[in-house]
């Protein structure tokens, strides 16, 4: 049994502000059922001074996930949008009287949902936002470089194990461990140069010196070692982090729908032979945001492994598009 604080227990057994908010001004959705926790945060904002006058949540998850969501709503009601943006996952954990280390990702989920709800309120397109959030690092849990960077900065993380505890990245198949190490090395190096982390504590990617992580390395490592990347550093959303001196570069233009569908088709074509070998097939039906509906044919329809099969397709598509794509069966088919 986890050693939850009395406040965590209170917010789990008596959650505040549960439910649906009619006509919300901002909605933030993070996580997924496959990941084991998911949170939908809805906020109502008074137009005069951009003050959050109401907030509601719905959460799928464990005790601390529900408690973190409940605490988050209590913390942000009454705050202006600018004030709410200063709320970090550390604040949520602190409000709850602390969380077990393995459960810190629940507080990160809360902070990410708040960020998404505010972005939604401000009318920032979710898709463009996702593109900005950097490369997908952990395919199992759909964790981007941007999320990793924020969690590392806010919580001063310096080991891969704590990054996993705070974000879940690397907590399943662990094939992304090397990528996590690279991001961790880069972000820690930035933090050292900004004077917010002692250099002796910083994580060094493959034992490299800090200087080696400057963005002047070979192309092979250039993508991951790009501290100047605008998405990776979001000063306005991480209260503890001072604004970097360098002006952010222009973000890459968001992907067009046509380009996206072409990429999805291409990735699906690549997996079709696997289906056909088993006497089945798969076809693209619809694309809505980052949700892709597919139709399964032949033996795939009743196959007891179809949910695993979809998971495999999901991984391939996420890989092709460089971000988390949810694959669902088209209407009328069992998951």
């Amino acid at each position: 049994m986890w050693n939850y604080s009395e406040t965590v227990k209170d917010h789990f057994f008596n959650p505040r502000n549960v439910g649906v908010l009619e006509n919300p001004d901002g909605v933030g959705e993070v996580g997924s059922i496959a990941c084991g926790d998911a949170l939908k945060l809805m906020i109502k904002v008074a137009p005069t001074e951009n003050r959050i006058v109401d907030a509601r949540f719905q959460t799928f998850g464990c005790g601390s996930a529900i408690a973190s969501s409940s605490a988050l709503t209590e913390m942000i009601i009454g705050k202006t949008i600018d004030e709410a943006l200063t709320v970090t996952n550390q604040d949520i954990a602190g409000y709850l009287g602390g969380l077990p280390p393995e459960k810190m990702h629940c507080s990160v989920m809360g902070a990410e949902a708040l960020r998404a709800a505010i972005a939604n309120f401000r009318g920032e397109a979710v898709e463009a936002d996702d593109d900005e959030d950097g490369a997908l690092v952990c395919k199992c849990f759909g964790i981007t470089e941007g999320l990793l960077t924020r969690a590392i900065r806010t919580n001063a993380l310096t080991t891969v194990e704590t990054v996993t505890a705070y974000t879940k990245a690397g907590g399943s198949c662990a094939t992304c461990r090397d990528k996590i190490e690279m991001v961790l090395g880069d972000v820690n190096a930035e933090m050292v140069s900004e004077g917010i982390l002692e250099s002796t504590k910083a994580f060094r990617y493959r034992g490299r010196g800090l200087a080696d992580t400057a963005p002047t390395t070979t192309p092979a490592t250039a993508r991951a070692t790009a501290p100047a990347r605008p998405a990776a550093v979001r000063p306005s959303h991480t209260a503890a982090a001072p604004t970097p001196a360098s002006a952010p570069a222009k973000p890459a233009p968001p992907m067009t729908m046509v380009k996206k569908i072409a990429l999805i088709q291409e990735a699906l074509e690549a997996v079709r032979p696997t289906f056909q070998r088993d006497g089945g097939d798969v076809e693209l039906v619809d694309v809505e945001g980052d949700t892709v509906s597919v139709q399964l044919f032949g033996t795939c329809v009743d196959c007891s492994m179809s949910s695993f099969t979809l998971h495999m397709v999901q991984e391939k598509l996420s890989e092709a598009l460089g971000r988390f794509i949810r694959v669902v069966p088209a209407d009328g088919q069992a998951a």
Binding site: M1, F12, F13, P15, V18, G19, V20, E29, I33, A34, G36, D37, A38, L39, K40, Q58, T59, F60, G61, C62, G63, S64, A65, I66, E102, K103, F141, T164, K168, G171, S172, S304, M305, S306, S307, F308, V328, P329, D331, G332, Q333, A334, A335
Partner: protein, 401 residues
């Protein structure tokens, strides 16, 4: 707080008061070392010998010396597997199943990674049944050991280990079974089986923690895991845990006497619990091989909610159960057993295990049936997947019910 209802007997059991009573004199009165040449030693040695025959009877073993006392299930598993490898150095393959307890699976994966063994992990179907074709194909004279559990700890699903052991004889492969969940719950006659090695654990059958045994069929080649003194005929060194051994012996006797109750009354209680919960709660289903499993285990997957939250609310009602959800273990994924069966994520996170014992009463089960619908409804009321799917829900219809 209502009286506690303990339905987590696959995790551990209450030590029977008769077991405690049998043990007590061996702490204070008959405290001798069984190896000693005096009256104190004799008393301890007599207790040890008696316990060995009690366990022999429960297992239906041909000889009492086939029973070697150990510290528990994990030690027995390690000793059995490592002994088989050591006595068959020319064989470099291992067969096990995808749903083994970590005490076996982690060890096998370690051996594959560190020692270069080729590992055959036999998959299961959506009901948790072993794929016999894959098993058959994996058999060869290159295999040093097979380790397949008798009963699964999460779903109670029984594997046909006696048949599997027979099949292994064609290639003279040592056959080990982790039977910690099966011993004391179903009848067994090892004398008539081809099983070479079998692990059991005291605390799963109302004996204390820290005591267990390994059955080694006469004639099976063995190497001790722990070397030193001559105890247990040189197969397990270390001064015997006489109180624990005496307790395990008495527990074995009680388990044998209780087998009928376990397979009639307890089974009926389990079936009633499942029937009522499935009737009162929508979007849930029983996992595992319903027609072929332990009489005491019910594993029900509740869709769209998460297991730890269920357990916390049950605990507040004084009810102890267990879950295959990620969050209860500190790992980030639902249990490997649920994943091996291909249980959809929508349900795997909400899989809840109720494991009964001869201590379980009608009133216990009534209470669970009474509170469970409210707990599920409450958590679904918080879940974003529930409201979103209510009314439509067809994409989430459990194909596994």
């Amino acid at each position: 707080m209502p009286p506690a209802i303990y339905l987590d007997n696959n995790a551990t059991t209450r030590v029977d008061s008769d077991v405690v009573a049998a043990m007590l004199p061996f702490f204070t009165e008959h405290f001798g070392n069984a190896s000693s040449m005096h009256g104190f030693g004799t008393a301890a040695g007599t207790g040890l010998a008696h316990a060995r025959t009690q366990l022999q009877t429960l297992l239906g073993a041909a000889h009492d010396h086939e029973v070697v006392f150990t510290s528990g299930g994990s030690e027995s598993n390690s000793a059995a597997i490592l002994a088989a490898l050591a006595t068959h150095p020319e064989r470099r393959e291992i067969i096990t199943s995808a749903v083994e307890h970590p005490a076996v699976l982690s060890l096998c994966q370690y051996l594959a990674k560190q020692e270069g063994y080729r590992l055959h992990i036999i998959p299961v179907d959506d009901k948790g049944r072993l794929d016999l074709d894959v098993y058959r194909d994996a058999l060869s004279a290159r295999v040093a050991v097979i380790s397949i559990m008798w009963a699964n700890n999460e779903t109670g699903t029984l594997f046909p280990v006696e048949d599997l052991a027979e099949m292994a004889k064609a290639f003279d492969i040592p056959f080990h079974t982790d039977a910690v969940q099966a011993v004391g719950k179903i009848p067994m006659t090892l004398a008539h089986s081809a099983i070479d090695l079998l692990s059991l654990s005291g605390h799963k059958l109302h004996a204390p923690k820290g005591i267990g045994a390994l059955y080694i069929k006469r004639g099976t080649r063995f190497r001790p895991l722990i070397r030193g003194g001559h105890q247990e005929r040189g197969r397990r060194a270390g001064t015997e845990n006489i109180p624990g051994i005496v307790g395990l012996g008495r527990a074995a006797e009680l388990a044998l006497a209780g087998l009928n109750d376990e397979n009639t009354r307890v089974r009926a209680l389990r079936d009633r619990l499942e029937r009522e919960l499935l009737a009162r709660i929508q979007h849930c289903f029983v996992t595992g091989d319903v027609a072929n499993r332990l009489p005491n285990t019910a594993n029900i997957a509740f869709e769209f909610i998460e297991g730890e939250a269920i357990l916390l609310l049950l605990n507040r009602e004084g009810i102890a159960a267990s879950s295959g959800s990620a969050c209860t273990s500190g790992s980030l994924e639902p249990s490997h057993v649920m994943r091996a069966m291909g249980i959809p994520y929508t349900a795997a996170h909400g899989a809840t295990r109720f494991s009964l014992s001869r201590d379980t009463t009608d009133a216990d089960i009534e209470r669970v049936i009474e509170v469970m619908p409210g707990i599920i409804e409450r958590l679904r009321g918080v879940s974003p997947y529930w409201n979103a799917t209510e009314g439509t829900g067809k994409a989430f219809e459990p194909a596994y019910a």
